[in-house]
Amino acid sequence: MDTEWRKFISVSLPIVLIFIALLAEVFAYLLKDAPLRRHDLDRLVVALKEGKSINAPTILLGDSITQDVLKSYRIASTGEVANLTTNKASGVVGSMFLLKRYLKKNTTPKRIVIASTPEFFGHHPTGKAAEIYLTSVFNKTEERSWLLKNINNVSNSKKIDPAILNIENKIGYKALALFALTPDSLIEGDEMPNKMPALESSSVHSSIQRGINGRSNEPLILSKIVGTALTNICKMIPKIDLYFVMAPMPKTTYLKRKEKGEIDSLRNKLFEHLNDSCSNIDFIDINEYRVFPDIAMRDPDHLRRPGWTAEYARLLKEIIIKLSSKNY
């Protein structure tokens, strides 16, 4: 018995351990170019790489409130608007990288519209969310060096990272992606219906109301990294028209923020910061034209479907039309 166990401990187990580690390395090598397909952002990145050119005059950037709407409804004819919306975790930094990748295959747009919550501009990427939605998605050499320069806690890709200790990212997700269809176009929703769906009017759950009440406690700021990313966007396309569209906010949050002067302050900060790098900037606050009551929200940040999302889509569509005709 002892002899068998001696052989097990000193020969079998170490050999199998090494063999499995090598096997993982081989799989990781074979899969190294397979694009990830974990979430909408991964699919967007694949679509930008593999899909046809769009050459849209308008680029739409923004966070999940807008992304959510554009998944359901098309706000312009095909080819008019390139939907590069993402989420808060990916942030303005992610938007900047998406735009850069877009420009490699497409002609320069006339205008960029950033339709987002005001909190989008104060976000600083950290932790697991930043890893999932930023650092693991944008890992070209120049993107990594930008992130390394601007975010403190980004891991350096040059460190030893055996596949066996990172199976989830180096093998798991990539192997799963092999079974997914390659997206050949950006995410687009359906045509806006002729008859708009009814606006939801039932009361919201108390926990959502608490979230809405607490949302205005988070101060609105322009974070340093977002400022740098916005400057880069302007530098990428020097004569671009850049429009900031404040997405719908629940009435309670909006009124509190307005009362504290936070919306105006954010607008001033954006204008001041981009004064030298952007030639034409404008700021449109949707909430000034349309009140979104608290019951319009399905959570503190997102609109209820289908009524209120369709309403936001309608407003966004109008804005895009007016901007296109330079009439806004």
């Binding site: 002892d2 401990i9 499995i20």
Partner: protein, 494 residues
Amino acid sequence: MLFNDPLFLFLFLPIVVFLFHLIRRTIGGEASMLLIVIASIFFYGWWNPPYLMLLLGSVLFNYAVTHQLLKKPSKLLLTVGIFINMAILGYFKYRNFFMENIGLLLGESWQFEEIFIPLAISFFTFQQVALLIDAQDGQIKRVKFLDFATFVILFPQLIAGPIVLYREMDKQLQSLRKDGGVGLSLFGLGVVTFILGLFKKVALADGIAPFADSVFGVADQLTMLEAWGGVIAYTLQLYFDFSGYSDMAVGLGMMFGLLLPINFNLPYRATSMIDFWKRWHITMTRFFMMYLYSPISLSIMRKSILNDWSKHKQFLLAIVMPIVITFLASGLWHGAAWTFVIFGAVNAFGLIVNHAWREWKLPKPHTFFGWLLTMLTVMISFVYFRADNIANANIIILAMVNPESFVLPNWLSYYADYFGISWYTLSVFSSGTYTVRMVGWIIVLVLFSLMLKNKPLHLNKIQPTIGLAISSSVMLWMALGWLDEPSTFIYFQF
């Protein structure tokens, strides 16, 4: 130092194992035991050096009392010994709890600074109290200081058990001291058992922990589905966390030639509460049965026979009362909080119903029904075990049973509208991906908890095959891959 800390895995453990076997071969068993004692002192002191004095003081005091009791049994000395042990435990672990509650009884709201509980104080105190009682009862004949010190502070079992009895370690320690015992078969099994434990802890328990935490963190916002998901997730996390730790402890013991008792035997297969407590935290249950439940129950039973009590009275005093006392004590043993007392009370209730069912020979329920009822009782008790306070625990349980809290997540709105069920964006099940992952974890872990046998129970059946090498390697790599940050073990707080 934690067993899943890279410092322990890649530095402390290899060095101690290497030196132990080297010294054992070159100098002898006694010297190798001395090495374990020194290593254990270092292991405990790494956490908080000042409390090392408490541990060493406790060892010296209890050795002196044991020595005296073995020379001449004395009830007075035993009582003094137990009292001092319990007083130290009470001072460090329970003083705030008792003072705050006395204050409440007097209508005062006394606030005390949070106390810093010495690591493993419950474990080493109870282990030594059991030894004192065994010495008084003549269960132990003689104790050498080195054996005693190894028994109490042996690092594989020092922090969170298993709660070992001296009588089951006596011969093993003697054998170790006299150069016997340690064969490679035991060492090899130890390595495999340790890997299994590490896998359970790092890959399984820590893998599902974020899902359980996400639910218990927003108790007041839960819907029925989320509450159930979170409670099931925590039930699985607790089992894999603690049984993973116990397997690691047993595996480490085997690497040093000591066979520690197992703590779990597929507890989630239990079909009754009595069955559950025979399978869950076995060494703690054994301790409470031997040193609390049985003495109380037997003495009352004797009285009942002498006085010819009625069946009801006998059941109430000889079974119900000892169960209540034992499980309230066991609840308090886990922590100085009312949530733990209720945890004990829920289990006591389940056991009383189980005993009554047997006593009055009611029809035996279907195995599945018995299992379901047992798991429901256990899960409810675990809600109190995990929740920050009683109010939160009650809210979670209410969400589990209140039909009004049945709401579907927004990403199932199509089906919700079709069936006329309310829906909105939920706090936990906010996205389909997250929910599917959580459900996936739950399904995998439920299967593991029902099928993954506790290895040391089947020592003779384990052969060093290539299959064992492959499964151990896969588990080890998976565990090492997820070894980001050393997370703590749930039972370390006790």
